[in-house]
């Protein structure tokens, strides 16, 4: 993978960010939660308990955990179909997410959405969208609503390096800057759009630079370093919250698993994957910071591992035991309840 330096349009990279013991432990636990969740989801898929498409987030955990650390209550987020990590990172219940994967009544969409289509208004998570790039203007629309309503809440609009080549992304950049929308465009560049590497899909692989055509500032960020992601996120949030308009973060990350569960991943070598896992793994990075800084012992971290594993096992049990939706659910939620139509009918 092409590791690029963090650069900005305006100045050199900020000083190396640091974090407290509590923060580091929090990031460690959150990232581990996502990884264990996804491993369990892969296992349940293998057992036939999860069907259809299932896109795992393993390897990319530092992106959402770092950006959630930069978010405040009421900020919005929306993403594409590789969405399990985003949901866990914004505080959605692993049980409800896993039960949606198994298509059960206890799922966030009561079994009617599946892996790619989950939402939580309570956590300001607006999906979970299955069409590549379609969530990008929707994210700008969420940002529009906040500006219209006079709040200072920002919207994190996540998409991949594949979606970055969609026409509606360019259309959205144009409007977002034109109207100064408080929208942070987060490009999770995991190097492969399904099986097509970035260099086979575009001659301008620095996606963050495309904002310059519209006057949107941006930068590339090391997505395997949760502290770097958080620092860049805070900068983008400051910009958007201050009413200065959108900001682009291109986060250089890597997925260890295939595009979806049925991807044999023949477009890259096992060595390439193994090298990232061994040398740049985001969880291992925080683990070393905790150990080297004397913030935690091996035993402390084992205790965290155990706790996380229990939560995930409970989620899996819930997802297996929750009943399938009642057949009557087929016909519900097609339309919202009718509002009163006025008197003069």
């Amino acid at each position: 993978m092409a590791a690029r330096r963090t650069t900005t349009t305006t100045k050199k990279a900020d000083a190396k960010p640091s974090a407290s013991k509590e923060e580091l432990l929090h990031y460690y636990r959150e990232m581990l939660m996502i990884r264990r969740f996804e491993e369990k989801a892969g296992q349940l898929y293998g057992m036939g308990l999860i069907g259809g498409f299932c896109h795992l987030y393993i390897g990319q955990e530092a992106v959402v955990v770092g950006l959630e650390a930069a978010a405040e209550d009421g900020d919005k987020r929306i993403t594409t179909y590789r969405d399990h990590g985003h949901m866990l990172a914004c505080g959605m219940d692993p049980k409800g997410v896993m039960a949606e994967l198994t298509g059960r009544e206890g799922g966030y969409s009561r079994g009617k959405g599946g892996s790619m289509h989950m939402f939580s208004k309570e956590k300001d998570f607006y999906g979970g969208h299955g069409i590549v790039g379609a969530n990008v203007p929707i994210g700008a629309g969420l940002a529009f609503s906040q500006k219209y309503l006079g709040t200072d809440r920002v919207t994190f609009t996540y998409f991949g390096d594949g979606a970055a080549n969609q026409g509606q992304v360019a259309e959205t950049y144009n409007m977002a800057q034109l109207w100064s929308l408080p929208c942070i465009f987060v490009i999770e560049n995991n190097q492969y759009a399904m099986g097509t590497s970035v260099k086979r899909a575009t001659t301008s692989p620095d996606f963050w630079e495309r904002g310059a055509a519209y006057g949107i500032p941006g930068e590339a960020v090391d997505g395997m370093d949760v502290l770097a992601v958080k620092a860049a996120g805070e900068k983008a949030v400051r910009h958007a919250r201050a009413g200065k308009g959108p900001y682009i973060l291109e986060i250089m990350t890597y997925r260890y698993r295939g595009h979806s569960m049925s991807d044999p991943a023949k477009y890259r070598t096992r060595d390439e994957v193994q090298k990232v896992r061994e040398e740049r793994d985001a969880i291992e990075h925080v683990r070393q910071l905790l150990l080297d800084g004397g913030h935690a012992t091996e035993d402390d971290l084992k205790a965290v591992d155990k706790e996380v594993k229990e939560i995930i096992n409970e989620a899996a049990e819930f997802a297996k035991e929750s009943p399938e939706p009642d057949p009557s659910e087929l016909w519900t939620d097609v339309y919202a309840e009718q509002t009163p139509q006025g008197e003069a009918i």
Partner: protein, 461 residues
Amino acid sequence: MATEVLMPALSPTMEEGTLAKWLVKEGDTVSSGDILAEIETDKATMEFEAVDEGVVGKILIPEGTEAVKVNTPIALLVEEGESADDVEVDRGSAPFPQDKAQTSEDQAAGGTQPPAPAQPRPSQKAEPEVPEGTEFRTQTVREALRDAIAEEMRRDENVFIMGEEVAEYQGAYKITQGILDEFGARRVIDTPITEHAIAGVGVGAAFGGLRPIVEFMTFNFAMQAIDQIVNSAAKTLYMSGGQMGCPMVFRGPNGAAARVAAQHSQDYAAWYASIPGLKVAMPYTAADYKGLFKSAVRDPNPVIFLENEILYGRSFEVPVLEDFTVPFGKARIHREGSDLTIVSWGIGMSHATQAAEELTKDGIEAEIVDLRTLRPIDYDTVIASVRKTNRCITVEEGFPVASMSNHMASYIMTHAFDWLDAPVLTCTGKDVPMPYAANLEKLALVTVEEIVEAARAVCYR
């Protein structure tokens, strides 16, 4: 305690596979993420990773074995220091018995579906839509629509309108004349020419609590945005299990205008009316434009409001009422008659009314039912009329194949077969792209002559 490693399903359709190669051997220590084996699925050869950590105690299925069923134990993982022979197997992760995965193809082939519950029924109130003694004034469709937009924007601060040329230009078809002056640039927003993302921004704004009105300069351009309309606006309420809907209106002229040829003349009624989750209005009179538009803005669902450029300048009587609304799913008897029923909507009504006048010369009195909304459809009013007249034709400008007329004819034949004295005939636009030449354009649209002929045919006259 040992953990069974099960043959994984590695694609949505895989039921069995070949255990091509073991990449670990008995006695090896593995941790989460290590590749255990290569497995050939129905699509490809995949690497299979360990989820749990442990020692490979026993390999149960040797490499090279074909047709290994999904969920068959293929290896045992034991803890450090244990032997595979003297451990109790943890079957906690054994799968549920489950039905064969049902693919969309299976469903399509399956054919029979449970009967749909009845569509929302229109209220059966017999009283007229406006109180007795109401004053009327003559207005064009354009003026009535403008008034409806302004009234709804006055009523609700969260209603805003966006689109190409809606603000400073005062509307490409002058529907938004004066709206910018009254409501200002915060709520009346000119956009770049960028239909796909405008539709998406509108959907996001609706998710975020606003009530957007998105104007398409014509619905022909909305084809660039149809993914957002269908996949994002219409389906989200269902996909979210009812948590999050998309209350907004997509509006603009639809269908043929005059001499603008194939790319600017298509009628999309049947396209949108086929999508569950959308509501679709296609009014004819100025009063219905006004009343239905106000209902559309208040509706908690995404509404497609199909207007017509030729009708914009037509004048009708509009009731003078402080808050006049017309409900969705309630057809209007435009003209009473006893000899046959003409079912129509939108600009089709214009041809239908002319044909009805012609038919009186032959002593044929047609009853015209204006559907007004195509989703939901007021089937009850249509069936009641057909039971009275025993004959029916439909009139629309859209293409003939997979048309709304096909749908109505099918419904009427299924639900009123015993009352019909003739097959339902459909009068539609022709099965050709719209030509430019004046004479050809006229031929491509549905004509009054064709309607009169169809009416005579079902009356056997």
